[in-house]
């Protein structure tokens, strides 16, 4: 017989059930802090065995009785071992479930704190972000969206800081190399936003389409889950101080942007129409609508591609402007853009806190 610990490993490996060695394994088994009652059992069994070996002169019948009793004791121990293993397993599962629950509660708490913070700053209650289900339904938000909302909050804060830096740099008339760094940072920051949005679209495309993470004025001006690209260019134009050779490029960009936007908008209209047709198909009022609704699910699937396309257009026009403009122009452009969105956010809170007429 090998030493106890190696025997333990090989018994497990081979799935061989060796009672005596299970006993020594049990003595080491205190993983979940179960009271270790084995020593007394061990002693008991050992005593029995010792007694047995001493009683060599007993009759065969007596021997077999003693053997049976020993067996019963061993069985009891084995049963206890199995029960302990099961209880330990259940305990581990319960612990795991509890930890998971804690983690998701923590995430929700962070998100709520963030919202509260922003609400204090903006004076608006961004209630919609917490529960995108029907009122009264306490549906927990999809965790992909919850983390998106958190990340977006951070994104806006970082955006505000970058805008400040840009403003200071331009006013201080910093050289181009310094401005270029800030411009690149600004562009990278927008890339981050599009990356976040792409992830969120996969988590819940309807949430993205609703623009619920934005303030109310921004939502009013929403186009397929974000800002309207052509509007952006029109906002920028007066602040750019274009050189003659740049004019035709920029005007061409404005025109192609408008055309791309129109094409996607019309595609979107078609999508909406096909959805309406699918949902309303067959007899309304008949009471059974599972096939129509199932069919409508298919119609919704391209929605993610549309948001993709809309964001693709937004990204492309930013890139095109970056390529066409000088560093100084790009810096001014990013500043103008940033401040435009800040004003929209500010408008949203001003509107929300305006004095109401008495009812």
């Amino acid at each position: 017989m090998n030493s106890s610990h190696t025997q333990y490993i090989s018994a497990r490996d081979m799935g061989v059930y060796e009672p005596i060695n299970q006993l020594s394994m049990f003595a080491d088994f205190d993983e979940n802090g179960w009271p270790d009652t084995s020593p007394s059992l061990l002693v008991e069994v050992d005593t029995k065995l010792d007694n047995q070996s001493e009683d060599t002169s007993h009759e065969t019948a007596g021997d077999s009785i003693k053997y049976e009793e020993t067996n019963k004791r061993v069985d009891k121990v084995l049963r206890r071992l199995a029960q302990n293993r099961e209880a330990a397993r259940k305990s581990r599962l319960r612990k795991k479930a509890y930890v998971q629950q804690l983690e998701s509660s923590r995430l929700k708490l962070m998100q709520l704190e963030q919202e509260l913070d922003r609400s204090r700053h903006q004076g608006t209650y961004i209630g919609g972000a917490i529960d995108s289900g029907p009122p009264g339904c306490s549906a927990t938000m999809n965790s992909g969206i919850a983390s998106f909302v958190l990340e977006y909050g951070n994104w806006v804060e970082k955006q505000d800081r970058q805008i400040c830096e840009l403003r200071n740099a331009i006013n201080a008339d910093l050289p181009d190399e310094k401005l270029r760094v800030l411009v690149n940072d600004g562009m990278a920051h927008y890339s981050d936003l599009f990356r976040m949005k792409a992830k969120a679209a996969k988590a819940d495309v309807f949430y993205l389409m609703s623009g619920m993470w934005k303030t109310s004025a921004e939502r009013f001006l929403l186009w397929i889950g974000g800002f309207r690209p052509s509007e952006l260019l029109k906002v920028l134009l007066p602040h750019l101080d274009l050189l003659e050779q740049q004019c035709s490029d920029v005007y061409n960009l404005i025109q192609s942007c408008q055309q791309a936007e129109d094409a996607i908008s019309q595609g979107m209209d078609k999508l909406q129409q096909s959805l309406v047709d699918a949902v309303a198909a067959g007899l309304l009022g008949g009471g059974s609508y599972i096939p129509q609704v199932a069919n409508a699910v298919e119609k919704l699937k391209p929605l993610v591609s549309f948001i993709d396309q809309a964001d693709h257009i937004r990204k492309e026009i930013l890139q095109q402007m970056y390529r066409t403009l000088t560093t100084r122009q790009a810096a001014r452009g990013l500043l103008a853009l940033g401040e435009y969105f800040q004003r929209l956010r500010s408008l949203s809170s001003l509107w929300a806190t305006r004095p109401r007429e008495p009812a």
Binding site: D249, N252, L253, S256, C257, Q259, A260, D262, A263, I264, Q266, G267, M268, K270, L271, S274, K299, P302, S305, F306, Q309, H312, I313, E316, I317, Q320
Partner: protein
Amino acid sequence: MEKISRLVSENGVVIFSKSTCCLCYAVNILFQELTVRPVVYAIDKDPEGREMEKALFRLGCSAPAVPAVFIGGKLVGSTNEVMSLHLSGSLVTLIKPYQGLLSN
């Protein structure tokens, strides 16, 4: 694939689409806006549609296979590529020979 090669060589601008695909519709609208009349071939209406889709994948289209846009016999790409080309001003150059025509 024979059918695809024939279609793209005989027509200036070809869009392979599916009748239910709204992005295909959007791309067509864009070309129309640029006074081009693309040949729109709905592969889901063709009995060999499956084969055509596989052939498009082999030619380099990634899922979804449609819209697959060919200009002057060459594969340009899907919606992404068409939009990028248009916003960078390069699309008009590619479609110039086919603009303003009543049919390809």
